[in-house]
Symmetry: C2
Subunit: 452 residues, 2 copies
């Protein structure tokens, strides 16, 4: 966990390596968890990895390999002999193997598939056929399948044979000879049931499954909703194709949250860790949005130009433009971000729009009045700009806050309804739009009240 | 999942209820999952719930109760007889019971604890002692504990006895007579091991545990990192106190992401779903930040006032204020939000600050040049404002973008270092700060170049 500890560990490993104390080194690595070994490797010079990797016991080696980043994986594969590669590939769970294969250049993929045994190769190819964000693409084909006519004793025997390979044995799935999914049984039920009980009699037949084409975020949300540790994935004919396990679902939920956050800040999402992304890639993810928003902001400038004469007649008004624009922008983002997150978590839907708009209207009135009262006091007592200007600024502030909240809450909902990503309708867009509107309101009110 | 389907289901249930078809109704409810029944109840009038709830089988009733919101729970408890309450409480997992108790007013808590059997009551009270965000507060005390001297056969016998109560049996924990945690064994290993093997010999002794006082977010991140479905929680003397299961960890991760998003949009976090929160509560979560940011924005206004004469001399400059402020704000938020999320995911730490600043500096130079070139062309060819003004605007734009990115990436890191929440250093704060700086830069450059 702690990066500083990893660093000092890295120094120790380097020292052992320099002193060629391989037995001590092996013992040192062996007692660690795969995720920790991978974090440690990340801190070490690339040229030491092939040697260190060979010191790891087979299973730990494979698990560590899965946890490493794709650059390091590619480097290791390059150094592997065919038989070494075969050993690693055979220890991998199929879904992990697919993740690795998807990140590799074509020539490395060919080598990996060559070394995989025919069954594994078939499974890898099968999963790779599914679209990138589908349930099929994150499922594993290594699960325990039982038949209705098995006894509990048969089932436990089968578990003994397949448990080592299966990724999750918490829940076993019951299928017909044509692989049609008919039920499930937890290992808990198996353990507490008499040895001669028939699976078909004691299984749960109300099994909740998802289709291979289902969006992986939806799958993860279903698993969270029902507290599932695994969910079966079926094809169009309700035949069991695989299972999605909770560890992959957790990663999906975290990635989706990160993506939403990036979109809300006007960044094209990327799932690569920040420190591993080079500056040019970061630039490419950010510049289109900055450019687009810069162009939109020039419209706001055009509004100012149009009211140049009014501003020249009452320069004091200029001083309140930033406060109006910022407060409007912040009010709008509060509403939009709240609605976007609620949409992501399925807490609200488009049909709730009237309820949402009404709630935001109430909130905006309360916020508008509070802000305007404070601001009026400040304008009169501290800035001493006089009653008329104070009234113009505070009236504009109130109208801006209300408009900002209403736009902020409704735009993401319309975006979702129209099939766009609501997260894109967050702060930057709302801010740009509200900026322009707040100036129109401001100059409109100023023209009338001050008769500029 | 689909709210529209739930609606039509609600209509069907209401019809069955009106026609007093209780057997059909029970059959209809019984075949559903607890989360679905709770969602259905949410759509039905409150007065029908006590009757519907009594139709549910015992276990489904308890599971449904857990999934309902606290208002509905309170209502149901009010209507329960003591024996009904006892039945529900006894079916609950201890961690769920604690969650419910924590949301109830004191008199309801007393009733619940009164009806819980002494063992359960003791466990609930124990968990409630832990601080709100600690591992202790989300753990369950219902797990399977084994001893080193057990044989696999003993262990499976024990599992048979306790499996029904335990929340997770995927992993069993091995403890000494004084409850000291010495290892773990997966049910997978138990199943594939010979019946006479000794637990102490086949268990894993490199067990990763967390302390009861550990922050629950850290616990969830550890579980995600190691792909754990459960993690043991130990007290100061390494005695096993409970386990945290993955379903609770997933909720923690999702809640933390929501909280970060709320803080980034200048909202005091709340874990209540949007539609269930009344307008005044939403107002209270938003107004302090709006107020604070409004006050800060007046400083930006003061800068404009200070340069009033310069602006009066060259009114054209006013038109580019929004574009400069917005682009600066957006550039800053992109950097700050990226860094905040990376900090949350433990991808970067304070000691990476130089690397982060250097990366953002490179990105900012690329963004600044691109934006300035486009803007220069627009100023010269479309706005036709002349070389001098174009130069002033584009130079200011470049300086602003670089400053914004540098502030955006470093402020959250310093906040974290100083023990503040980095998420608060997101868009709104950065925007306010960058607004002021961009104007200072703008007027500074304008004064020199245009000699105002």
């Amino acid at each position: 966990m702690n990066k500083d500890i990893i660093i000092s560990q890295a120094e120790m490993v380097t020292r052992l390596l320099d002193e060629k104390q391989f037995t001590a080194l092996r013992a040192e690595l062996e007692r660690r968890n795969a995720a920790d070994v991978a974090a440690l490797f990340d801190e070490l010079p690339a040229e030491t990895l092939p040697l260190l990797f060979r010191l790891l016991p087979k299973e730990l080696a494979a698990d560590t390999f899965v946890e490493m980043d794709s650059d390091a994986q590619r480097l290791l594969i390059k150094g592997f002999s065919d038989s070494e590669l075969k050993e690693v590939v055979e220890e991998l769970y199929v879904d992990d193997a697919v993740d690795i294969v998807e990140e590799m250049p074509a020539n490395v993929v060919v080598r990996i598939l060559d070394q995989a045994d025919p069954d594994t190769r078939k499974m890898i190819n099968e999963i790779m056929r599914y679209p990138e964000d589908s349930a099929g693409s994150i499922m594993t084909t290594e699960f325990v399948a039982l038949r209705e006519n098995y006894s509990v004793e048969d089932a436990i025997k089968r578990l003994r044979r397949t448990a080592v390979e299966a990724e999750s044995i918490d829940v076993c799935y019951v299928i017909k000879p044509d692989r049609m999914l008919v039920g499930y049984i937890t290992i808990r039920t198996l353990i507490v049931s008499p040895a001669d009980a028939q699976i078909g009699k004691i299984m749960q037949s109300d099994v909740i499954s998802v289709s291979t084409g289902e969006d992986k975020e939806t799958v993860a949300q279903i698993m969270q909703k029902y507290n599932f540790s695994a969910i079966p994935v079926v094809d169009g004919d309700n035949r069991l194709a695989g299972i999605v396990t909770i560890d992959d679902a957790v990663d999906v939920l975290q990635d989706e949250a990160t993506e939403d956050i990036q979109k809300m800040a006007a960044i094209t999402p990327s799932d690569k860790p920040y420190l591993k992304t080079n500056a040019f890639a970061i630039y490419r993810h950010r510049i289109p949005w900055l450019m687009l928003l810069m162009v939109s902001a020039t419209f706001t400038g055009m509004i100012i130009t149009r009211f140049e004469n009014a501003l020249a007649a009452c320069v004091t008004l200029t001083a309140y433009i930033p406060m109006l624009m910022d407060t409007g922008g912040n009010s709008g983002s509060q509403a939009s971000v709240t609605v976007i997150r609620s949409l992501s978590l399925n807490e609200i839907r488009f049909r709730d729009i009237l309820q949402v708009v009404f709630k935001e209207f109430q909130v905006s009135i309360m916020c508008a009045v509070t802000l305007a009262v404070c601001n009026f006091a400040k304008l009169m007592l501290i800035d001493k700009v006089g009653l008329m200007v104070s009234t113009v600024v505070c009236l504009s502030l109130m109208v801006t806050v209300v408009i900002a909240k209403l736009i902020g809450c409704s735009l993401p909902m319309f975006a979702k309804k129209l099939g766009f990503d609501p997260a894109v309708m967050a702060s930057p867009f709302i801010t740009t739009l509200v900026d322009a509107l707040s100036l129109l309101v401001y100059f409109g009110i100023a023209s009338h009240v001050l008769q500029l």
